[in-house]
Amino acid sequence: MSDLSRRQMFLRISMLFNGLVGALLAIPVVRYLLSPVTGGRGAADNRWVSLGAVDRFPSGQTRLAAYRNPIANLSDGETAEIPCWVRNIDGNNFQVFAINCAHLGCPVRWFPQSRLFMCPCHGGAYYEDGSRASGPPERGLFQYPFKVLDGKLQIQAGELPTPGPSAANRELINIRRQSPCA
């Protein structure tokens, strides 16, 4: 074995060694980077939060409500105060809509006279029951699962609703699980 190839072998070993060290260090780095997805402590993002007493939402009307996001940090400031639209259909049945347009997430506004939600960004419009009326959205407004507990309206929230296919599916499953009489 010549001296040169011996040196080359050392070079390869040293590179392999550094590659291994790098790979080893990459594991915690990747896990750290993925923590927004894996959830850090494995907590589910959606939790029940209260929107206040039920009688704040008169029958037959749609009102703006807000809740502090169940997962929030000090550095979030006002961004953790999430608004939503509460529709009291007939005194017993509710619909709670996300503020975000199902097109690209802009804040929709309720117009009681024309009984429409309209989006200021790209012109999406929805009927009072949240179904799509016109414009670019491909679906109706996002809805939160809700329940009335001790005279308070509670919704299951915590995640920014987005129009991606899987988010919509998950929400549908949630709604189905939620009996309308609950």
Binding site: L74, D76, E78, L160
Partner: protein, 485 residues
């Protein structure tokens, strides 16, 4: 004086940088490239350096926390002396950098500079363009106002549409389940560390390639690029008829860069800083979020694409555009360089420029968006109301009250989401108007549940008066009286 020279000699003896710097400065360039058309690359780099300096100055005060960023911008704008000016310089510098990068790209495209052997220079340039766009977007987020907040929502909504990994991408982008402090922190890291670091590296490589391969010669119609002999010809061009970069080429670069910096300062002084607009409080929903100037075309495109095509175009379009740009120097690496003999190249630039310009212009007027306050603030021209019956006047009230005005203009006032109704009675009969109002259709919501019969009758009575005096009302042919001979 002698002391300085001694010190310089000592430094050069240790560093040994004098000779390579001199070689670089005096490297020969083709005589006709010492031109005012060749100043954009260096100007882009100068503005980038300017952005680094003003960015560091801002970072001395800016607080990258979701709870405090907006307030720290208020402090910069109002409390720190000339803080507003530094913000304005950085904001205008960003606009100028993007504009100059785009002009530079158009110039090298039209001058055929991407052809052999400068393919890699072009490819690095594409990445530099993407990073510059990335800086513009992340910088807009750091302003952390209403526009930034809802702009992030738009970004998240687009990410979520990627098949399979969409929801994961959204969380990675936001740094959590919602747009919040963690989102700002990661955009701060991108804007201040990651992308600038990449930019510096890529600019270095881009510049190295310009030095190694030589600046693109002035394209002459009929002087074709061939892989077999290009390098010899270029060598002859630089070494028989070439001139040293310093001082022949550099002074125009320097003058133009100086002028650009002066223009940035003038804009900053005159127009002031960009925003911030309202606080990033999602509960404040009386807002119409808009992106910064260079993303307005995208904003318009998102409104105008048919819903079913939107997701595929959003996801596949950029990939195709990137592939086309990256493949360009390999597909057309040889041949004619001069734009005078490349009509398709010129037409492509014109087409892209006209499209982007049109979209940008539309985004400044947003005709697709209802005018949210038209029902309360827009008036109905009096000539459409005078001499009308009480029922028709009642219909005008319904028109206003039910917010028809938000989407339909009368006399040029009101929304443009739907057609303007100045002559609607010429197009539709009474029955057709009733049907359109109650059932909706096209892009119009149905108002059947929302109007009682009396309101509908009044509204349609008013709409039927909307026709020019000279034009007859639309008639239902099936109910027309048969003409007697």
């Amino acid at each position: 004086m002698r002391l300085i020279r001694t010190a310089a000699t000592w430094l050069d003896d240790r560093l040994q940088l004098g000779a390579p710097i001199r070689d670089t400065m005096e490297h020969p360039i083709p005589r006709d490239t010492a031109s005012w058309f060749y100043v954009f690359g260096s100007a882009a780099m100068t503005v980038f350096a300017f952005q680094l300096v003003t960015g560091i100055l801002l970072a001395l005060v800016y607080v990258p926390s979701g709870a405090e960023a907006w307030n720290s911008l208020q402090i910069l704008n109002h409390q720190i002396s000339l803080g507003w000016f530094i913000r304005a310089l950085h904001g205008w510098g960003s606009n100028f950098m993007l504009a100059i990068v785009l002009i530079h790209m158009v110039q090298v495209f039209l001058f055929g500079a991407y052809k052999f052997p400068r393919e890699l220079t072009w490819i690095l340039g594409i990445f530099l363009l993407l990073m510059t766009l990335g800086m513009a977007f992340t910088g807009q987020v750091l302003r952390f106002d209403q526009d930034a907040y809802w702009g992030l929502g738009i970004g998240a909504s687009i990410c979520s549409r990627v098949p399979i990994v969409g929801p994961v991408l959204v969380k990675l982008m936001l740094g959590g389940p919602i747009i919040a402090g963690a989102t700002l922190s990661r955009f701060f890291a991108l804007h201040v560390f990651v992308i600038p670091g990449l930019l510096i590296t890529f600019i270095g490589l881009h510049l190295l390639l310009v030095l190694k391969l030589g600046i693109n010669e002035w394209p002459m119609p009929g002087r074709l690029v061939r892989r077999s002999d290009y390098r010899q010809k270029y060598h002859a061009l630089t070494h028989t008829d070439g001139v040293p970069f310093v001082p022949y080429g550099v002074w125009k670069d320097a003058v133009f860069s100086g002028l650009i910096l002066l223009t940035i300062a003038a804009c900053a002084l005159y127009f002031g800083p960009f925003g911030p607009s309202g606080q990033p409080d999602p509960r404040v929903i009386q807002t119409a979020p808009r992106p910064d100037y260079f993303f307005l075309w995208l904003y318009a495109l998102l409104s105008l694409l048919p819903p079913q095509l939107e997701t595929p175009i959003l996801l596949i379009g950029p990939v195709i555009a990137l592939i086309v740009l990256l493949a360009l120097p390999f597909v057309s690496g040889e041949g004619e360089k001069s734009w005078r003999r490349r009509p398709i190249a010129v037409l492509t630039i014109l087409l892209v420029a006209v499209s982007l310009g049109t979209f940008t212009n539309m985004a400044e007027h947003t005709p697709w968006s209802p005018v949210m306050d038209a029902s309360t603030s827009a008036s109905i021209p009096s000539k459409l109301l005078s001499g009308r019956t009480p029922l028709q006047i009642q219909g005008a009230l319904v028109f206003q009250e039910k917010q028809c005005h938000n989407c339909h203009a009368l006399g040029g006032i009101g929304g443009q989401r739907g057609p303007d109704l100045d002559a609607v009675a010429v197009r539709l009969t009474g029955d057709q108007l009733v049907r359109q109002v109650l059932q909706g259709g096209g892009n119009m919501p149905a108002y059947g549940k929302n109007l009682n019969p009396a309101e509908t009758t009044a509204l349609v009575a008013f709409l039927q008066t909307l026709h020019p005096a000279a034009a007859a009302q639309a008639k239902d042919a099936s109910q027309a009286p048969v003409a007697q001979p």
